[in-house]
């Protein structure tokens, strides 16, 4: 049964990481334009140089 001592924390931590990422995506408004985001991956434009402010 000692294996439980590892497995339960591991499962909770993994789930917690997933939840933390989800919270991050909601906070950074990544669900505002689902349709546009699905199409943007087809675009050749790369915005790796953000516009200077």
């Amino acid at each position: 049964m000692n294996v439980l001592a590892f497995l339960i924390p591991i499962s909770l931590i993994l789930g917690g990481i997933g939840l933390a990422f989800f919270v991050f995506t909601v906070k950074s408004r990544q669900y505002e334009d689902p349709e546009g985001d699905a199409r943007r991956i087809l675009s050749d434009e790369y915005d790796d140089h953000p516009k200077p402010d």
């Binding site: 499962s11 909770l12 087809l42 434009e45």
Partner: protein, 732 residues
Amino acid sequence: MTVAMRPQISACPACAAAPAAEALAEREAVKDADLALSLPTIHCAACISTVEKVLNAAPGIRQARVNLTQKRAQIVADAGVTADQLIALLADAGYEAHELDATALRATQTDRAGRDLLMRMAVAGFAMMNVMLLSIAVWSGAEGPTRDMFHWISAAIALPVIAFSAQPFFGNAWRALRVGKLNMDVPISLAIGLAVVTSLWETSLSGEHAYFDAAVALTFFLLTGRYLDHRTRAIARSAAEELAALEVPRARRVWPDGSETEVPVAELSVGDLIRVRPGGRMPVDGEITSGTSELDRSLLTGETLPIYAEPGQAVSAGEVNLTGPLTIRATAVGRDSSLHRMADLVAVAESGRSRYTSLADKAAKLYAPGVHILSALAFIGWYLATFDPRTAVNIAAAVLIITCPCALGLAVPAVTTAASGRLFRRGLLIKDATALERLAEVDTVVFDKTGTLTAGTPEPINLDSLTTEQLSVALALAEGSSHPLSVALAGAARAKGVEPAILDAVSEVPGYGTEALWNGQPVRLGRTGWTGGTELDLTASWLRIGDAAPSAVTFTDQLRPGAAEAVAELKADGTRILLMSGDTEGAVAQLAQKLGIDNWQANCLPEDKAERIASLSETGAKVLMVGDGLNDTAALAAAHVSISPASALDAARAASDIVLLGTDLSPLPEAVRTARAATKRIRQNFRIATWYNIIAVPLAVAGLATPLIAALAMSASSITVSLNALRLRSQP
């Protein structure tokens, strides 16, 4: 009723703009311009990148981002960049764009409530999975200290999660209890709270049954229902707001030195001079000081015949100037204008409709006291039988958990989401939460004529009675003017293959017509009095060649596409159809005959329409009102349920429950059918939920319900109800 409350805000463009204008001025003083454009034609990845490239390349643009879901572009630009410049740039690139009133959109852009619910739902879902994992170990036979440890870990996950995720339920329940009422959230909160408390108690005593998984699953399923409900309404609200935001309230103010500047309508005050160009709408009530023209009052009164306008005449906000430029002196602005007085009428009528109780409310009214009594009886019964408070509380909690309205909470939102989504794809926007249920009950449909059954564009009907010579002169004259009747006449004549005659000295006399010289004799096309014609009951334009007797070109209002099909289908479904118009008897009779409507009424005043609908309602009829004008708003608000086309005046759209986005009327009968199917589905879902209670409650009362049975029953009923709702999407 949040959606229904909006009318007061948006009904009057001037009032909507007042705080907006202040905010605008404030922002501009400190920061850059913040623009929003509507892009109705974008649809793919190439569109996104082209639009963004064009916008980002424009001078003064800091940042432009396209949102494809909402078909909008958000732009941050230096002060001084105007939307007009950007619209022109996009037009060159081949994209249609319209300016959106950025302040009117603000509310939906940051959908805080939606993100908040999504977050709570995600946390509850995460906890449900983890607690369920541990619970399965317990159900499959974990015993002794292992079971206790699993229960304690479950408690450690469930307690903070419920404290966070179930807050909306606790809050609502507390608000209801404080005013001495019961709503659906009271049994929900009680069940969640009691489940957690008894489970903690059991766990501390090394008990066998803990309901942590049930408490968390309950929260998750109910939050799913709430989120679906919120999303459906948020989509409708954002689309409705976009319609309102498309009309940016601006006016051209004339200064004493003769110069003109564009100002927000909210900044106008009584006594200001305002220039209204042909095609423009009167922003305020006023009096004409110079210029002659014709006015289209159809949105206010339903009349199709334009009226003559000359200096000294009073005009009302909402009328459209047709031919010549006019200068008006404002006599009433903002709250005092006739547009706003009409909106007040709507607010009064609206309060009557909010009395409608939705199916969900009816169910909750029966349900909430029922479960409390049942659970209390179970507690008393078991306490008297065993004198063991622990058993009695455990069983009372089990009864509350089992009866908890997971399925009821999903029954309505799942169906309305599916139905609204289906109707949205067909171009119907459901603004009000209970509109679908009310639409399903409809047995009488009242149509407005101008702008609703007709497209508002005239169509000549007697071209065949004119000679070829007359036609060619009429065509040449008509092409010299941009008056709607002239445009329609020219289009129809061209389509018949008529060649325009060669005219000299063509000139348009605003408010009267067009005149010219043809082979040396004067020719005129225009108003009855100006050309020497005799007054007719139909919309007509007269053609006079030389001294010959004038001949009339009569017009009828073109039917809106799909109008005939919609009326025929509704009739076939057994619905009574009425036509009520503010237009003249001749025009209404002709249209009624064309569509096969026997029951019609002409020359209706706005009050007549509303009264007629009220008297129909008194006889028990459930009336659907379809209308677009300001003269319809009172009737729209008085009817059981109402629909207006997107081309309708802001006030009319705000007063109606459903907005028709396209120009086609044919989705109407389908909307009624879908609403009926949806209501049937909701009732079916209630029955499923009831059956599940009938089976599970005796088990719980008898003390036989284990956490496993509760979890199975709860999930099974929620999933059945959701799947049943989804069937609505695929139905033909």
